[in-house]
Amino acid sequence: MSVRDVNAWFGHVQALYDISIEIPANQVTAIIGPSGCGKSTFVRCLNRMHETIPGARVSGSVMIGNLDIYGNGTSPVLVRRRVGMVFQKANPFPTMSIYDNVAAGLKLNGIHNHRELDEVVEHALRMAALWEEVKDQLTKRSGASLSGGQQQRLCIARALAVQPEVLLMDEPCSALDPISTAKIEELIFELRSQYTIVIVTHNMQQAARVADSTGFFLLGKLVEFDSTEKIFTMPSDKRTEDYITGRFG
């Protein structure tokens, strides 16, 4: 994924300033930074979710392969099928069963063939490491009746079922306990061979554990972007160093 000169606004307030990044494929990229620095906003620009907020605006270009997702005539709906998202707070559809939740991306778009859906649901749940736990209760339990960690894995399965090329994760573990967090980090590590993953996190150890590359954001600007090892051991920018050593944020 190639991000060039992206700016984003909430109404008149600018939130992102001239962000340019090359996000490497089939790797995990972490976005870190203090609260309010624009991490979430940036990531939401990658799947055209930022513009769903009334009054919000984006300029610049984001390329996936040959497609500029902000190009004229590019449908945001198509973009979101290629770039999936998992949110900070797990948001399974409360009126749907586990099966329907995972299949939602397909069912809501008109695919109803049961056998095909069965296949997809099972595969997605296996990849999200949730299959063993819920395989007997797929249609009997509602998506919202699972525990927090399970719900988040359900959301991951749901996102995977649509077979995106890129998976965005906006602080996926911040609302979870350490054990669930560990499971999800495991998951991320396994998935990276098949997907490009961008994960926003305020937890630096998590970034260090999981990510291949890391970008540090501050006040809407990208300060530094490099391999994780380099960022954490020898940051080139003083601000990065300050943040990592905990002098602020």
């Binding site: 449908s75 397909l106 095909e116 990849m127 077979q163 590590f189 260090a208 954490f232 990592i244 050593t245």
Partner: protein, 347 residues
Amino acid sequence: MSSILDRAKLFRPRTDTKQVFPAKTTAVVPFSKVRVTGAVSPVPDYVFRYLMVVCALSVLAIVALILFELVIESRLSLHAFGWKFFGSQVWDPVTGDFGALPFIYGTLVSSLLALVMAVPLAVGLAIYLTEMCPSWLRGPLAFTTDLLAAIPSVIYGLWAIFMLVPLLRHYVEPWLAASFGWTGLFEGAPYGVGMLAAGVILAIMVIPIISSITREVLIAVPRHQREAALALGATRWEMIQLGVLRNARAGIFGAVILGLGRALGETMAVTMVIGNRTVIAKSLFAPGYTMASVLANEFTEATGDLYLSALVEIGLVLLILTLVVNALARVLVWSVTRGTPVSSHAQ
């Protein structure tokens, strides 16, 4: 610099991944061929949004149409009578002379009479429910008053004819004539049907609305107002007066006005018990006629364009009156339940 190196030790990315994340046997099975395909055009979104806008606009169109029709159809009468319409007591289909005064009088008097009876009861009930009622009783009692609101007008009327009117005729009205006849309000033969009956049944119908809005308003008064009054050593009733009613005044007033709005437009029950005679009388025992009742009774039998037009004009007047009253009520209630409550002076 050394601190960074120290931190580096903590943050060294794990190269010994095999130990931390043991490889699972997720066989690299090719994911299903099932994909969501197909071009996505923005057209269905536009169409859908357009449809919703149409629905919303239809609401505007309907109200506009209603007003338009009423004004158009009453043109004849407006032209023929002008302002005299509201001052004339004559309602004579034969000669073609129409005046709305008896109906306006009837509507206003019956509604005000209803309010006089309903407001103390409704507000008292609301106070009881919010401030005094034991909590196990609150739900059932509130539910029952809401049930009152669900009873259709025609059933109220039916009950009024067969139970209320005889009651009035045989017990209440003679007693009133005997005890309060000197006021001039209770003269004439007690037939049961008449202004008093209309007032009573309207009161019963209007109590649930006034009560439920008052309840909302009372609940909206913040807790600390009550606590402040209690902390000063007030009894419960004093606390209610000082801490609650004072703040909710505007809202209660609004609830009452809403009840008035409902009473003004009420048709069936009133028509069934008011006697339906175009007279203006001081006595509450006398029959009367309201705007809604004359419409109900005479609209389908109106001969001649002027007659019909006069009736439509009455309908127009009723509509405008009701709309103004309702708007006033909404503003009053809104001022208490939303935004900051009416300011209170610590007293």
